[in-house]
């Protein structure tokens, strides 16, 4: 079992103990809110992990390597960004898929671009964003986010 999860669980439990002493009502509200988001997210998790299993079994690493490997350079950045832009889902869903890509031989900057575009670019939420903030803002923000994903990917290559 991964110790990180256990350590983090203990940390969160301590935080709850602290807030419980200050305000039991709000702490239990927090717990209720947390479990509600969790149940809301559960189908996504099931689907994402199901996909991860399929990816790791059926997609040959050679394919990932060719499309997103370091030797493909700019192409792999574009592929990563495009995948993240098309895919929608909560941020937490991006990490398992990103880990699979990385394991399959994908270039770290391309994987970073994938995560960032997954999180920042939302084609599904675009109509709502346009309604709330106006079409100009929504289109510009999503467009710049696509560019930002690639920039962050390149910078990741420099940092790592």
């Amino acid at each position: 079992m991964d110790p990180t999860g256990i350590i983090y669980l203990i940390g969160v439990a301590l935080a709850y103990a602290f807030f419980w002493r200050r305000s039991p009502g709000r702490a239990s509200k927090a717990l209720a809110g947390g479990s509600k988001s969790f149940t809301g997210m559960l189908p996504t998790f099931i689907a994402v992990f199901g996909l991860v299993g399929l990816f790791e079994t059926f997609i040959p690493p050679a394919l990932i390597e060719r499309l997103m490997g370091s030797s493909s350079g700019a192409l792999s950045l574009l592929v990563g960004t495009a995948l993240g832009t098309v895919a929608t889902g909560p941020p937490a869903g991006a990490y398992p898929i990103a880990a699979t890509l990385l394991k399959g031989g994908a270039w770290a900057p391309a994987v970073a671009a994938f995560i960032v575009s997954w999180i920042l670019v939302g084609f599904v939420s675009l109509p709502m964003e346009s309604r709330v903030f106006g079409v100009k803002f929504a289109v510009l923000r999503n467009g710049i986010s696509i560019l930002a994903s690639m920039v962050i990917g390149v910078l990741m290559g420099v940092v790592l």
Binding site: L9, R26, A30, A47, L54, P96, V116, L120, L140
Partner: protein, 179 residues
């Protein structure tokens, strides 16, 4: 806090997320027809990776619950409204990371800020940083390692500030004095 409008119980809406699960299930069914062993192996990999990170996922959602209840969104929003320039963007980036809530709560909150004269730059930076979600960091680290997770988060926050500045220009913040 989630308003009553967020609780609209709609059966089809409640089931909608499970459509994705059904889709993945269908792919598994096809895979099982082609090669039962490999489909079984895929399911095993799926279950193993899920169970491996289950403690982190539970902890992350518990932490998100705390942030959602104990961070006063309205106060945070007021704080964002009365600043300008680079300090405003840095504050927005910091505020965004501790802002937790679904799209239908955060978007209207940001819209309210905008209506009260907050610049598009601050709105953009906050929205970008909101997507970072600091409590999620251990989850990302669990999958991709701490070095990757921290580097990506820091770079995303820096980009959030830059994006705010660019959007401010493109949306002509400085020219919009009328309300």
């Amino acid at each position: 806090m989630v308003g009553p409008s967020a609780e609209k119980p709609s059966f089809s809406k409640a089931l909608a997320p499970y459509r994705v699960v059904a889709l993945v299930g269908a792919v598994y069914a096809v895979a099982a027809l082609i090669s039962p062993e490999r489909a079984g192996h895929a399911a095993l990999v799926a279950a193993k990776s899920f169970l491996g990170v289950a403690p982190i996922i539970v902890a992350v959602f518990a932490a998100l619950g705390l942030v959602q209840v104990f961070v006063d969104k309205q106060a945070l929003a007021r704080h964002l409204g009365d600043r300008a320039g680079l300090p405003a963007l840095l504050t927005a980036a910091a505020a965004g990371t501790i802002l937790v809530g679904p799209v239908f709560v955060i978007f209207p909150l940001m819209k309210t800020l905008r209506d009260h004269g907050t610049s598009w730059a601050v709105i953009t930076t906050t929205l970008t940083a909101w997507a970072v979600k600091l409590p999620m960091l251990p989850l990302e680290a669990g999958f991709l390692g701490w070095k990757f997770a921290v580097a990506r988060t820091v770079l995303t926050l820096m980009t959030a500030v830059a994006m705010g500045a660019i959007m401010g220009r493109l949306m002509r913040d400085s020219e919009q004095t009328k309300r």
